[in-house]
Symmetry: C2
Subunit: 229 residues, 2 copies
């Protein structure tokens, strides 16, 4: 009877029957066996989205870069390191994905080659050059795919936030974008709180400072409304 | 009475009256407000050394890069990010330091300048170059200082371990060096175990696979013997 009640509870969720795929955390791009390039993403926003989507009845796959966060309940987690691994995991599931939320802070560039051995410091050389090549654009690749799901991007900016976010929405063929200003240290990467503006083709919604759990729920509300239209 | 017993207990330690300064963890070298270069050091070896030195009665200062480890009991921890910050913290205490153990995996190079705003991906540009400049060599700076303490370095290598380690011992004016082979995935950065060879001017000692706590104790034994000589 408990099983039946639980099943009924989840069937009431707004995302019941939907497969939601969420990317989260930073990516790590190897320079050599010990060094890498990464960023300060904690993964908290993506993990909060995964938890909220599962709570609303979705089947959730969380494709996560390296973080220190526990896997949320009732969520399938795929752990990856690099942007290329994250893209591969995203594309593997695309035909069964209803909503794709790209909250990961993917490295735009990766070292053009990964040294097999630790690169040694050369005593005479005071400078070193790392050549980087552009990483695949995961959210744009998904949004431009023939089997594209409803696709939501994130924009973490330090200046002209709305302008960059709206340009990205159009250029990448996204359905929705969540934009926040990471130069505000009260919110963002390592904080439990966040503030953002959600943009879609025909509108926008301001999300004032709130917990990342609350924000996850609000973002899912925006998605739900757009999915119905 | 408990206080007296406790005091007596600590006074029996091999390092009672000694100030031991230990660097640990990776350093993070900023590229811009969100991106950085770092390495896979967990900090476990340095934290184990701090714990073991405190247990043997030392006054311990742990200068730590970003890790997820709790500060060991009776240890003063200074948290830093970059190599430059780690050097500054090390030099500030040098005149009162008896033993300096440089277990941190310090970035050899840092970006030559830190961008004030997040560097934007340029659509036409498929490549990017990061110019790096050499970081200060913390352990060599300490070992060559007029007020130098007994100075212990670490060498994490993926090939020709003994050869690189002994060259480093001489070149940097160290008293001792602990060398391990990080290409062996059973030990090293993220493991709780380690195996290493300790080299000093007139000898060496093989430390077979053991826990990092045991290894910390063995390294301190080697230091104690050399301090007496």
């Amino acid at each position: 009877q408990i099983t039946e009640l639980t099943a009924e509870y989840f069937e009431e969720g707004a995302f019941t029957g939907k497969h939601v795929v969420i990317t989260a955390g930073p990516t790590q791009e190897a320079i050599d066996p010990v060094r890498y390039i990464s960023n300060h993403s904690s993964g908290k926003m993506g993990y909060a989205l995964a938890q909220a989507a599962a709570d609303q009845g979705a089947q959730v796959t969380l494709i996560s870069g390296p973080t220190n966060l526990p896997c949320p309940d009732r969520v399938e987690r795929i752990q990856v390191k690099s942007a290329e691994q994250m893209l591969e995991a995203s594309l593997q599931r695309i035909s069964e994905t209803d909503v794709f939320i790209a909250s990961a802070a993917v490295a735009d560039y990766r070292p053009s080659e990964i040294a097999e051995h630790k690169i040694k410091k050369v005593d005479g050389e005071d400078q070193m050059i790392i050549k980087l090549v552009k990483n695949p654009d995961i959210v744009a690749t998904v949004a431009q795919h023939p089997e594209r799901p409803f696709t939501v991007g994130f924009a973490a900016e330090t200046q002209d936030v709305a302008q960059y976010a709206q340009a990205k929405l159009a250029r990448k063929n996204l359905d929705m974008i969540v934009a926040n200003d990471v130069s505000n240290t009260k919110i963002g990467f390592n904080s439990d709180n966040n503030a953002a503006t959600v943009f879609w083709g025909s509108g926008q919604r301001e999300l004032e400072l709130m917990s990342k759990a609350q924000m996850a729920s609000e973002i899912l509300n925006c998605i739900k409304t757009q999915l119905k239209d």
